[in-house]
């Protein structure tokens, strides 16, 4: 049953994710006062990349160069399994870890200096992003369970956790923000290093990366909704998704790309403030 449910959810997650990426771009374009691409544009891009020629640079370390793409898709499918069936959120943390490994591996394996910079930036942004993700563990102290299904069940009796742990919610939101395109925290894909870690991944590989990213955006948004809002009807989730996306797009449109060190400092300070706040709260109260 669980397997069937997961398999059914994969195309749904993929389509929702890719349409959301398109919608993200569309909203940014509307803020900029232009018509903007249609919302299915990212899907067209992805299909186009699938039918493009694919070669590997001769400087690349081949197994890793190809392997990371499979790993990215596999990792977020695993993440989707966790979300759909309400498994332990620590596996999601492992999935997120794998995503960082993909960024690093894709960047370093190609032999291009731009990719290398993207990969290294991914490494030190990890130092800030991992604590951000791990902040979710604070929820455990309240609900006494790391199973997402238990956390949802807890909220159905005690109300959304969003109001009890606003700083944790902010941390999770920052994670999402650092993962969408054109966002101020997406330093691994900044313009100054061409396309960052993706520079040398093109053709089918780029299509694979886009697939992984679209499932990723679905998983991260679902995680936010499940952990901080709890049980809601389907339209409630849809509304929540769109609200999240619109806010992400507004932030992406209205801010410049931060310099790498600023970005890491920003994420790091949110994580440390969240941890310290709940630590002190736990000690004093």
């Amino acid at each position: 049953m669980e397997i069937i449910r997961t398999l059914l959810m994969i195309p749904v997650a993929f389509l929702v994710g890719i349409i959301f990426l398109g919608l993200h771009r569309k909203i940014i374009a509307r803020i900029q006062g232009r018509p903007g691409p249609p919302i299915q544009q990212e899907l067209y891009h992805l299909l186009k990349f699938f039918v493009k020629e694919m070669t590997a640079p001769e400087t690349a370390s081949k197994p890793i160069y190809f392997g990371v793409v499979a790993l990215l898709i596999g990792a977020w499918m695993l993440g989707l399994t966790v979300i759909v069936n309400g498994y332990n959120f620590l596996i999601l943390l492992a999935v997120f870890t794998m995503h960082k490994l993909v960024e690093h591996g894709a960047g370093l394996s190609s032999g291009s200096p731009y990719g290398k910079f993207g990969g290294v930036r991914s490494v030190y942004s990890t130092l800030a992003e991992h604590p951000l993700f791990a902040v979710l563990a604070i929820v455990y102290l309240k609900t006494n369970s790391l199973m997402i299904s238990d956390i949802v069940a807890y909220q159905s009796t005690h109300g959304p956790l969003l109001f009890q742990f606003p700083l944790c919610a902010l941390a999770t939101y920052t994670i999402m923000l650092s993962k969408v395109h054109h966002s101020p925290l997406a330093i691994v894909m900044a313009k100054d290093i061409v396309t960052g870690y993706k520079t040398e991944h093109f053709g089918v590989l780029r299509a694979g990366i886009l697939t992984g990213e679209s499932i990723e955006i679905f998983v991260l948004m679902s995680l936010f909704m499940l952990v901080y809002i709890g049980p809601a009807p389907l339209w409630g989730y849809a509304l929540g998704f769109i609200l999240l996306l619109v806010s992400l797009s507004f932030i992406s449109a209205l801010s410049p790309m931060l310099a790498p060190y600023h970005s890491v400092m920003f994420e790091g300070s949110i994580a440390s403030v969240a941890v310290l706040y709940y630590l002190l709260k736990g000690v004093i109260l």
Binding site: R34, P37, Q41, H45, K48, V51, M189, E200, F202
Partner: protein, 153 residues
């Protein structure tokens, strides 16, 4: 075949554009830049220009009258772009050398001596709408049934 139809469809709907200046006077450059402005908004037609990277390009927009440095690099660049690809020469310089094709020149026009060019837009410089029109006009024609054409070669 349904797959061929799908391929034609997505290749008509999505272009990644990389812009290369091979020694123009910048006039064409800023007109290309002007195509991304809200008045023309190149992106609404599915043309992506924001992170130009030859590795993911479908359309190469080339301006300028091939200078000494670009003579060898142009071919390298062209080879880097994965198939199927289309080259659009923008401006009089890329088409024929224009005003720079005179005695004492240090350039090697025209562009088509170096790489295959699918479309040429004359003008000094051409207007943004013309550039937009050319990309949208030529790319689908070249990309249509690309795999069949390759097989027949």
């Amino acid at each position: 075949m349904i797959t061929d139809k799908l391929k034609n469809f997505v290749r008509r709907k999505s272009f990644h554009v990389t812009y290369v200046d091979t020694g123009s006077c910048n006039g064409c450059s800023i007109e290309v830049l002007a195509t991304i402005c809200p008045r023309y908004d190149i992106e609404q037609y599915g043309i992506f220009v924001h992170h130009p990277n030859p590795r993911e390009a479908d359309v190469l927009l080339i301006t300028g009258c091939v200078t000494e440095q670009w003579k060898t690099k142009l071919k390298e660049l062209y080879d880097k772009v994965p198939e199927p690809k289309v080259v659009v020469a923008i401006g009089a310089c890329a088409c024929s050398g224009g005003i720079f094709d005179q005695e004492g020149k240090r350039t090697h026009p025209p562009l088509k001596n170096f790489i295959p060019v699918a479309a040429e837009i004359p003008g000094c410089p051409p207007r943004p709408s013309e550039i937009l029109d050319a990309i949208l006009g030529v790319a689908p024609i070249v990309f249509k049934d690309y795999d069949k054409k390759e097989a027949n070669k």
